[in-house]
Amino acid sequence: MKLTIPAIFKISLSFLILGIFLQLLKGAAISSLLLMHVGFSDIQSLYVEKVFAISFLVLGIFSVWRPSQLNLFSLSLLILFISLTSFFAGGKHFSELSVFAHFTRIVLPLAYLYYLRKQLAICVWLLRLGIAFTFATHGWEALQANPVFIDYLIGFFQLRIQEHTASYMLIMVGIVDIVVAFCIWKVSNLWAIYWVVFWGFLTASLRVYDAGLENFSEFLVRTPNFCAGLLLLAIVRVFFNKSEVKRNLKTS
């Protein structure tokens, strides 16, 4: 398959759908909420979550295979719903920000929809919105020294750096993330998009590097973080010169 824009959309959506499906199958926030808040038994809540996971997978496959307004829109809504369940279940660092942190994955199906409708300006706008929210949220978490990020860094350097060094590095990372989130609004800043692709891929891979190949679903759900950059780059390169992009964005 040639790496065309629709191909990138399809691959990243497939990875995302598979990743979310695997996470739901292992037991996620939906079953936790049903058990803790609704009063379902553990078996019932896991059952509901599995049925949801399979429905999500079917819808996902259908959306990639036969994309339509209805199924891509529903897919975005379901991903938003899943992020909201993590928000309500809590119990993770910064779970209150999960919807913002997951913005690239939430907007990806919608961006594909507008791409297919040839409303490129909206497609580009959505991708940038997703990247901006996801990067700004991660930047904020990095500035707050999210201990999970600290351990990724220490793990990456195989215990050869100290926690305070990791904290300083996170401040740099946080500032860069937030700067990128702002710069992504200016397409003329191509370097920001390059960075999104590079950094999105690196941080998604770090999850697998740190916690083993068994955690590849963690990588899969983060494919939109770099694929959104890749798509932005491809769309800008293929369809626009700079002035066109600016014009398109103004009309959107």
């Binding site: 037991g27 803790m36 553990d42 809590g90 201990p147 600290i150 740190d210 916690a211 963690e218």
Partner: protein
């Protein structure tokens, strides 16, 4: 001159009415939520904590080794070291939790193995008399309870909702009953995830329910606390304040408790960096603690060997990657874990394989949280391990060379029982 006298009278009047107001305030002031925290040296130190419904100006703990009717007769008192307003939001007030203040008083220089009677006072309002017993320094025997996960799912946490916290209350009453039946029990090690989250609308009711662990004669069981993934909010550091342990390093809450001269418990924090300062500290602390103690226990919230959740989850992987090799190298006697919401006991594990020389991991959270269905088929539960869906509290009866480990269900029935030999040599 007349004007000056008038002004003077006016000021006097203002001062008087202010004083009156303060006295009225004191009269309505309430002090609730008695609790004791043990940290590093429970033979000589304890933190007495409580909640007051008004700010007050003076907060003190009066204490003595004999009981008194009158506050004036206590031979000792200590001023509260840490006082402040508890973070309360509109939704907390709507849930029925009142705005309130926290108080943490450090009692130092206590005598080992002694009964201490105490009352805590915010201004003129004092609590009834309670008592607790300090750790016994030169004892070879010790009984302690271990349990975790006392959060509940009910949205409506008001006390008038009979369904709310029913099991948590039941478990707390069971703890009080066990304490009456077995007065040798010294403390409750709590594996964390106290409430849904550490906001006041949840913690207020948790502290209310915690009062049920107090025996009819007023004995308060000291808590040795850890921090869980539902305890991230500011309410945790406000209400579970452990003096310098809370502030130290990146996020605190890891420390060694010298339960006796020969029994130590290391509490770790899975909610801060596991590979950073804490790892370095643990690497130094474990060999020291092992060399000095016949029994070495560890507790932390997220499990290395989960009974319910995915084995490969990154937080569990991290516990196994950074801490477990240190536990094994230093021959930890038993590991206490929480978070999963099930009853579990692993086979002895060494280098990620069953091995009679390895460490047994027990847990995994049953102090009232809805129980989940575990995976008894996992390799670390077959041939001698156990995993089931049961509310429970663990009792560790430690003697010179052997330990009896028992799990009791919500009705006080014994579910599990196994012996353990010390790995000290």
């Amino acid at each position: 001159m007349k004007n000056i006298v008038f002004l003077f009278l006016l000021i006097l009047l203002a001062c008087h009415s202010k004083k009156q107001e303060k006295i009225n305030g004191e009269l309505t002031q309430k002090v609730i939520h008695p609790r004791i925290y043990w940290t590093e040296n429970p033979a000589s130190h304890a933190i007495v904590s409580w909640t007051s419904l008004e700010e007050g100006a003076e907060h003190k703990v009066y204490y003595d080794t004999i009981s008194h009717n009158d506050i004036k007769h206590y031979s000792l008192f200590t001023e509260s070291a840490s006082n402040g307003k508890i973070t309360v939001r509109k939704e907390d007030l709507l849930s029925g939790a009142p705005s309130a203040y926290y108080h943490h008083t450090e009692l130092e220089g206590l005598q080992s193995g002694k009964k201490y009677f105490f009352r805590f006072c915010s201004d003129n309002t004092c609590s009834p008399e309670y008592f607790f017993i300090t750790a016994e320094r030169n004892s070879q025997n010790l009984s302690v309870l271990y349990g975790g996960d006392s959060r509940v799912g009910e949205e409506d946490e008001e006390d008038n909702n009979p369904a709310a916290h029913a099991t948590r209350k039941k478990m707390n009453k069971l703890i009080a009953k066990m304490l009456v039946q077995r007065p040798e029990i010294k403390a409750l090690i709590h594996g964390a995830d106290y409430a849904m989250d550490a906001t006041w609308k949840h913690l207020y009711f948790w502290f209310n329910d915690h009062e049920l662990t107090i025996t009819p004669e007023g004995r308060v069981l000291p808590l040795i606390i850890s921090r869980g993934n539902h305890d991230h909010e500011i309410g945790f550091t406000e209400n579970f304040r452990l003096g310098k342990i809370t502030e130290q390093n990146s996020d605190g809450y890891y420390y060694t408790t010298r339960l006796t001269d020969s029994i130590a418990l290391i509490t770790l924090n899975t909610e801060t960096s596991m590979a950073g300062y804490q790892y370095k500290w643990l690497k130094k602390e474990l060999p020291k603690a092992r060399a000095a103690n016949k029994w070495l226990l560890v507790q932390y919230h997220k499990p290395a060997y989960p009974a319910v959740k995915d084995f490969d989850r990154e937080d569990f992987v991290r516990v196994r990657k950074y801490w477990v090799p240190l536990f094994e190298e230093n021959r930890v006697d038993i590991a206490l874990e929480s978070d999963g919401h099930a009853l579990k006991k692993t086979v002895p594990i060494l280098k990620n394989k069953p091995d009679p020389k390895g460490i047994i991991y027990i847990g995994e959270g049953g102090l009232g949280v809805p129980q989940r269905n575990p995976h008894p088929e996992r390799w670390y539960f077959t041939n001698g391990g156990h995993a089931s869906s049961d509310h429970h509290v663990w009792l560790l009866d430690i003697a010179a060379d052997s330990m009896k480990v028992k799990a009791f269900g919500a009705n006080g029935e014994q579910i599990l029982d196994f012996p353990l030999k010390s790995k000290y040599h």
